[in-house]
């Protein structure tokens, strides 16, 4: 186990470095931060001075070497937009994003298990059909649109929830719900189909013939067997939300998280902040993957980690 963790950490480190290098090269090849950061009326002298100040007058390989050196101390330089250390901005906004993802995915996971199980009890029944139809509907609606629709219904028409921003517990409900909808649908479908498979297994029939209660079979034995695939998909949902979906939701709801900050950093050509954000998200994803592997091993020791 120890050797496995070390190897995965090494692989993870390579992934993070690779992602960082890609962002580093792309931002320098395809954007001109000097043109983006200075006003239209800035003189050539001001442009040159600014380029020298942020080190853009040096050869790109040299810039990357310096960057790697700074990385060890999490020094991504000053955010051009916020004029304070880029990592400080990340540390400030990351908790908001994690809170939103936690609320959204938590809600999806908690609701998906009972929904999927109930639907699986009578495949083709009315409950099952309604669940599957709603799930398909949720999956086919873009998040951006769902968010605006929820705002229109609950904030503009009913006036029961705030439209945007962060401040009270009520503020998290609509963005979390928007974020939860697709994962909820996918997880419910997974629980439903896995549960239908499980209930047709021989061991269920044997257990029932021995007089074991159906609830116990369903809630303990079958549930444990579908747990790995449930957690795998949840982990995947967590990673894909972190890597992108949260950007849309945070923008629609003006939620001050890392996703919204990433969009603003891109719009303002703030390459130092972009590097810090991409690095942090890549690192988080690697850590989540590693954690999931370890959790799976703990749940089911039969899993071979290599």
């Amino acid at each position: 186990m120890g050797a496995f963790i070390l190897r995965r950490m090494w692989q993870g480190l390579l992934v993070v470095l690779g992602v960082t290098l890609t962002v580093f090269v792309v931002t320098r090849l395809f954007t001109d931060p000097v043109a983006l950061m200075l006003p239209l009326s800035a003189s050539d002298g001001q442009r040159a001075a600014f380029a020298a100040q942020i080190g853009l007058d040096q050869p790109v390989p040299l810039q990357f070497l310096w960057f790697l050196g700074d990385l060890a101390t999490l020094d991504f330089g000053q955010s051009l937009w916020q004029r304070r250390p880029a990592i400080e901005v990340v540390f400030e906004r990351l908790p908001n994003t994690l809170m939103l993802i936690g609320a959204g995915l938590g809600f999806a996971m908690v609701l998906a298990l009972p929904l999927g199980m109930v639907a699986a009890l009578r495949p083709g029944g009315i409950v099952d059909r309604v669940t599957v139809s709603l799930g398909l509907l949720a999956l086919s609606m873009p998040q951006f649109w769902v968010g605006l629709l929820l705002i229109l219904i609950f904030a503009v028409q009913l006036k029961v929830l705030p439209t945007s921003g962060m401040g009270s517990p009520a503020h998290i409900i609509l963005p979390a719900l928007t974020l939860a909808l697709s994962p909820l649908a996918r997880l419910t479908m997974l629980v439903r189909s896995s549960m239908i498979d499980e209930l047709n297994q021989q061991y269920v029939k044997t257990a029932r013939s021995k007089g074991l209660g159906f609830r116990r079979i369903l809630g303990v034995h079958a549930l444990r067997n579908i747990l790995i695939s449930f957690l795998t998909l949840s982990g995947w949902e967590l990673i894909s939300t972190l890597a992108g979906y949260t950007v849309v939701v945070e923008t629609v709801f003006a939620w001050p998280g890392l996703g919204l900050t990433a969009i603003q950093a891109i719009q303002r050509g703030d390459l130092f902040l972009m590097q810090a954000i991409v690095f942090s998200i890549a690192l988080l994803i690697v850590i989540i993957n590693l954690t999931l592997d370890i959790v799976f091993k703990l749940i089911d020791p039969r899993i071979r980690l290599n």
Binding site: Q46, E92, V156, G167
Partner: protein
């Protein structure tokens, strides 16, 4: 019993009155949505919309503008006088203090000027203050600004430079907790969410009507609109013309921007004066103003100078719409079927892509073959201002914060201007002269001549003076300003 009843009635009356007074007091606070969070609240570093919208209410400048755009004295007691060609003298208003109690005096002006010019601070506002050399204290209430050359628009420049407190600038945190002399005091900045200001009870021009203002950062236009409809916001900026009918209230005012195509007059086809004339005659500007902007834009009068700016030539006529004449000109020049390149960007200015595509279509109708290039913004800036070959035509929504024609003249019409595409040395000389002429009437006459010439030679294709449209809650009472500043002291709420 009677006594008890009276007591009960009196208590109820007090309760009712208190309840009535409560919401009335609360109603004096407003919430304004701004598109982006300020990067810093230091008033001398950035040239950034979010920062300006907040700091315009905290800080003041020596010169100010009325709600209609007229330049008046602000922290200066009166209009400045010119001591010699390079020296302007300002008398300062007395008895003004900063929010932290520091007095506003000549030292504050000297500190403000010195700090913004200091290259170490790398201020983005240097473009506004390029001609200023230094500031000199004469006595506590008199200060002189020295320029590097004759600068007739120095008073307008001082409408842009915010005055900071010397003591606080040295020891305080201007970037996170600003301290000015203005009608509103900084209260809090909840990063990512909002900034709150409260009325300055000691403001020299009287306490403003609105007690407190909250700025919320909402980048997504749809969310801003929903916030207004839900009653959470009182003012939103950049309302699309299409939504003016769905918001509780709106207000529109001619803004700072004029959309225009700059023509590359040295390029083979565009070098022919008749072709340039045809490009102007080909466009039905009124139809575009009506369909794209629903009337919230006016057809530019023959040049791209802001009508509120000094030097605007009121005598010029808008270019006529005459496609037949345009087609004839193109035929006569022998360039029918030739390709012309149309450059622009998308998303930076209101309906930019729509304007570019519509104009290209009009040019297509008179026999040319327009090829539209929509570029990424920094790439576009390179095309607009870089050292490469000049494009046949490039779109820009030109802004003029100083409200002086020097901006348009030197930026686009002067052959050495950053976005200019002509090589007319004679016109450049006229612009240079206007820039250093301090006699107001002579200067106005020079600009009239410059813009008449540019108009006759069709150096640009001016389109529209764009309006700024604001969505407002039912209770807001406010008339927007031509300089796009959101001055809370000019607002009030009913209720």
């Amino acid at each position: 019993m009677n006594f008890m009843l009276r007591g009960l009635l009196a208590t109820s009356a007090i309760a009712v009155l208190t309840a009535a007074a409560g919401p009335a007091a609360l109603a004096q606070s407003v919430t304004v949505a701004i598109g982006s969070e300020p990067s810093t609240l230091d008033p001398q570093l950035r040239d950034d919309g979010g920062e300006r919208q907040v700091n315009d209410n905290i800080y003041e400048t020596l010169m100010a503008r009325t709600a209609t755009g007229e330049l008046v004295s602000g922290l200066a007691a009166e209009a400045p006088t010119q001591v010699d060609e390079l020296t302007w003298e300002f008398k300062l208003r007395q008895g003004v203090t900063f929010h932290n109690g520091e007095p506003f005096n000549a030292d504050a002006v000297v500190t403000s000027v010195t700090r913004v010019l200091d290259p170490a601070n790398n201020s983005e506002q240097l473009g506004y203050f390029g001609t200023i050399a230094s500031a000199e204290k004469i006595d506590d209430t008199t200060v002189r600004i020295i320029t590097t050359g004759p600068d007739p628009i120095l008073p307008s420049r001082m409408y842009w430079m915010k005055m900071i407190a010397p003591g606080y600038a040295a020891n305080g945190d201007l970037a996170a907790a600003p301290v000015g002399t203005g009608p509103y005091k900084f209260v809090s900045w909840n990063r990512g969410t909002d900034i709150v200001l409260e009325a300055n009870a000691e403001y020299w021009d009287g306490e403003p009507a609105i007690d407190s203002v909250t700025y919320r950062f909402i980048g997504e236009p749809g969310t801003r609109l929903s916030g207004l409809m839900a009653g959470e916001l009182d003012i939103i900026t950049n309302l699309l013309p299409e939504f003016t009918t769905s918001v509780p209230k709106f207000a529109a005012v001619p803004g700072l921007e004029t959309s225009v195509f700059v023509l590359g007059t040295d390029n083979p086809i565009i070098a022919i004066p008749e072709v340039r004339k045809a490009l102007n005659l080909a466009i039905d500007r009124q139809a575009m103003a009506d369909s794209l902007f629903l009337g919230f834009a006016t057809v530019a009068k023959g040049h791209h100078v802001n009508p509120a700016a000094f030097g605007f030539n009121d005598a010029l006529e808008s270019y006529a719409y005459d496609p037949d004449a345009a087609r004839a000109l193109i035929e006569a020049a022998g360039v029918a079927g030739e390709t012309i390149h149309v450059y622009g960007e998308s998303g930076r200015w209101l309906k930019d892509r729509e304007q570019i595509e519509a104009v290209a279509a009009y040019w297509g109708e008179i026999g040319l073959v327009p090829e539209v290039h929509i570029e990424e913004f920094s790439q576009y800036l390179d095309t607009l201002m870089g050292d490469g070959p000049r494009p046949d035509s490039i779109f820009i929504a030109n802004s003029n914060e100083l409200l002086d024609a020097d901006r348009e003249a030197s930026f686009i019409y002067h052959m050495d201007g950053a976005a200019a595409s002509n090589s007319d040395a004679e016109m450049a000389a006229m612009i240079d002269e206007a820039r250093i002429t301090t006699d107001v009437a002579a200067r106005e006459a020079l600009y009239a001549e410059v813009f008449q010439k540019a108009h006759d030679l069709n150096y640009t294709v001016p389109l529209f003076n764009l309006q700024d449209i604001y969505g407002m809650s039912e209770r807001m009472e406010w008339t927007p300003r031509p300089d796009a500043k959101l001055m809370i002291k000019e607002m009030s709420v009913t209720e």
